[in-house]
Symmetry: C2
Subunit: 250 residues, 2 copies
DNA sequence: CAGTGGTCTAGACCACGCG
DNA sequence: GCGTGGTCTAGACCACTGT
């Protein structure tokens, strides 16, 4: 039942997790590994592919296979949080116009001007999360200093969002997170330095005002092997009234 | 740049999504498909593997490759909800003893007796979610009718949990969801009828009482291609006080 | 039984990284 | 240029399915 590439992968996994192969170390070339395990190169590559989706190794064309830093799983609170727990965040911003999907999510007319912030957070040179934050100018204009991106310390770009809370005429009312598991796009995989076949957690956060206006839309992508998100829901104790919301097909 | 198996996959994907290949229809044998596209069988299988992780086809050894029902994406509210929107749920229960992990999560002594409920929800013969619900006898004993599994209509087994809300001496205080993206275990993949390499959304819900006692622990696994979860967070308007919780390494 | 997918082989050729 | 991984080939053999 256990296939040969499984067997090879098991042995290599043991070597890596036991520390016999140090972090950052290069594995032997695939041809030599194939010879060592008496399998063909495609079979050996199947084994490495397994380890790669597990986040144990990293491949570089022309250089070799390298043992990866064991994933440090970070727990992100679902609610706003002060950053600064060793996370470095790189923020860049640009003014673009909303098209198609984006306009729909921000509930703006097509081609409405919006500001885009891209936040890539690192921990020890290892990318931890990629966030795209979109704020319509109609919202931004109302405030003063949001346009100059503050250096965000949170992967959610919370600080930027929080400034909306305080500065905008329409106060922030609530925030809806749509959570899915999927594969990363090519660009996401590249930014996060993960395999195209490593699952990611995708969180689409829509922040709305009291009057239903969409203040911001955040797409946060977290590598599945390195992140988890915690949502805490206090339960109303006199909660015999059932919520009337139902699962909806989309 | 685009590899041959990519090209083949693109064409087959077009045929499937355009409806030229009907749902449930069997594809031509792999050898014939390989001949049609002038590629070798391994290459063709790479293409099919892609479509499989995308949830477009389903493979059965000895029978063939079949076009899958297009994934109906369901949005599950993160909070309790009445079931019944076409979801059939199969519930089974058993009395087991907590071991290792489980005992830790339920904060019970090892080998404490607990009741396990397994809920598999379907929609039109297509599995939509798999939940494992664990309730310590220490909690169950306090109530009367929880032990006989009510037929749950929610993939979260909410009805069972809700009965705790009303019947237990210690009222339900809050519920913490830990959300990750990962690959399914072999058993999960089999129950949900998905490929081992299809990402799933894993939600670990811990329900605690006011005094910190763990009332229930739920592990909900949802196929990434068919489910998403919505969490709504109302934002306190006078929220200049930052929450003091920080992201924690685990 | 015949037909199907599951796995593997022993090469080949190309593209990339680095000296 | 050389060594590396990336992709592909044209088969082979086995395990499983349904008749």
């Amino acid at each position: 039942m256990t296939s040969r590439h499984q067997h090879v992968a098991d042995d290599l996994r043991r070597l890596i997790t036991s520390g016999a192969l140090a972090v950052g170390e290069r594995l032997a070339p695939e041809t030599r590994l194939a010879a060592r395990y008496h399998v063909s190169t495609p079979t050996l590559r199947d084994a490495l592919e397994l380890l790669r989706t597990e986040g144990l190794i990293e491949k570089f064309q022309g250089r070799g296979n390298f043992v990866r830093r064991p994933p440090q799983r970070l727990t992100y609170p679902g609610v706003a949080v002060d950053g600064d727990d060793g996370l470095q965040v790189i923020v860049s911003s640009a003014d673009i116009t909303a098209t198609g999907d984006l306009a729909a999510r921000l509930r703006t007319p097509p081609d409405a001007p919006i500001t885009q912030y891209v936040c890539l957070s690192h921990r020890d040179d290892s990318p931890q999360g990629l966030a795209h934050l979109y704020i319509p100018h109609a919202v931004t204009r109302a405030t003063s200093d949001v346009r100059n991106p503050p250096v965000s310390a949170s992967p959610w770009a919370d600080d930027i969002v929080r400034s909306l809370t305080t500065a905008t005429g329409e106060p922030v009312a609530n925030s809806t997170d749509l959570v899915t598991a999927r594969f990363p796009t090519g660009a996401e995989a590249q930014s996060l330095r993960i395999a195209t076949r490593t699952p990611v957690l995708s969180i689409e956060r829509t922040i709305t005002a009291d009057d239903g206006q969409v203040l911001a839309y955040v797409l946060l992508v977290l590598p599945g092997d390195r992140a988890e998100v915690a949502f805490v829901t206090p339960i109303d104790k006199k909660t015999d009234k059932k919520t009337d919301k139902k699962a909806e097909t989309r």
